[in-house]
């Protein structure tokens, strides 16, 4: 298992995040496959990222922490759900978002949403961090997840090709 995958999975367990709902992405397939194979997790692949927000929110309000994996294009599908459910109802969800439009991007259609993701998070006042190195990764992931639950706000953890190595031409 790659180190970054191990660190993120350990952080999820540390915070008792046992429900994972996701839409696949080849660059973060390493981690979602490991999560699928780990009995600790109850994994629900959804049909659309906005649906992931609903499922993860339902899980949190029933007392079980949940996280989401998706790519930045799918973050675009979540904006109203975050703005009208998670923010007013104060439902925290760590969202692991693979950022497209970064180094090595080969698809013009992925660039705009990818590069707009962090500015939109800022407009929504949703805390976010960019994970581009294994250095201090455990502190970054675990510490920010702790913040997510204490602030009771969604949190974006943006994964880049520098971390996972995917899609660098």
């Amino acid at each position: 298992m790659q180190e970054w995958v191990k660190i993120i999975i350990n952080s999820l367990k540390e915070h008792e995040i046992s429900v994972i709902t996701y839409i696949p992405d080849i660059s973060i397939d390493n981690i979602t496959k490991e999560i699928e194979a780990d009995n600790y997790f109850n994994v629900i692949p959804a049909t659309r990222e906005e649906e992931c927000i609903g499922i993860a929110s339902g899980s949190y309000i029933s007392g079980v922490n949940a996280a989401i994996f998706m790519q930045s294009s799918g973050f675009g599908n979540c904006i109203n759900a975050l703005a009208s459910l998670n923010i007013p109802a104060r439902i925290p969800i760590p969202m692991f978002i693979n950022l497209r439009g970064e180094i090595g991007e080969f698809n013009i259609a992925q660039v705009t949403m990818g590069r707009s993701t962090k500015p939109i998070l800022d407009l929504l006042n949703i805390p976010h961090i960019t994970l581009d190195s294994e250095i201090d990764l455990q502190k970054n992931v675990s510490g920010n997840i702790k913040l997510c639950y204490s602030y009771r706000s969604p949190l974006a953890l943006c994964l880049t090709p520098l971390l996972h190595g995917g899609k660098i031409a």
Binding site: G54, S57, I61, S62, A89, R90
Partner: protein, 201 residues
């Protein structure tokens, strides 16, 4: 002409019969009427009402997220406009197949609150058939309150997932917006689930 039922009567029936089950209600009049009916039946605050105020389409997805973590029956009171917006959630529910999830669709065949514009269920879409093809165990359609009472009572004892599409009519008036802060709804719903309080709330 087809008999149709009132959403408010349907909601009261659900409250009467579902004991302390978690209920998620669709945004707008459905949540507002759930609050009003809970008040009328003197069940307040009924901590296991989860009112939604936005996030159109996600009512049944939220209910799925609850259902996977409890053995209690979870009830989603959804609407046709919302479910059509997130019809993929029927596929996901069919895939996960939670035995304890009941979706009740108040199908008035229109977006009522925005000016009574017809939705696709006024034409060719039959949501109970969509759900059936997604793998729902029990699928029902009903057009009057007695029929609904019988189906709902039976559904509470059956393994789901279950969908009941109830053809509803509008009265032309809408109640006031649920006067509960969304964050307070989260707080008390979650605490009630964490404490597993089975007593009347």
């Amino acid at each position: 002409m087809e008999v149709k039922l009132l959403r408010y009567d349907l909601i009261k029936t659900i409250l009467y019969k579902s004991n302390n089950s978690p209920i998620v209600s669709n945004l707008g009049p459905t949540s507002d009427e759930l609050w009003k009916a809970t008040n009328e039946l003197e069940l307040h605050p009924r901590n296991r009402n989860f009112y939604t105020y936005g996030s159109m389409g996600l009512c049944s997805s939220i209910a799925l997220g609850i259902a996977i973590n409890t053995s209690e029956t979870v009830i989603s009171i959804d609407g046709d406009g919302s479910l059509l917006m997130n019809m993929g959630t029927l596929s996901t529910i069919g895939r996960v197949s939670p035995a304890n999830l009941i979706i009740i669709v108040c199908d008035n065949e229109m977006w009522a609150q925005t000016g009574y514009q017809p939705t696709a269920t006024a034409f060719n879409t039959e949501l109970e058939k969509v759900a059936k093809s997604c793998g729902f165990k029990n699928t029902f359609k009903c057009t009057n309150i007695n029929e609904f009472k019988n189906i709902f009572t039976k559904s509470l004892k059956q393994n789901g997932p279950t969908i009941i599409v109830a053809k509803t009519k509008e009265t032309g008036t809408f109640p006031d917006v649920t006067p509960v802060e969304p964050e307070f709804t989260t707080y008390r719903f979650r605490n009630s689930m964490l404490n597993n309080t089975k007593d009347k709330l």
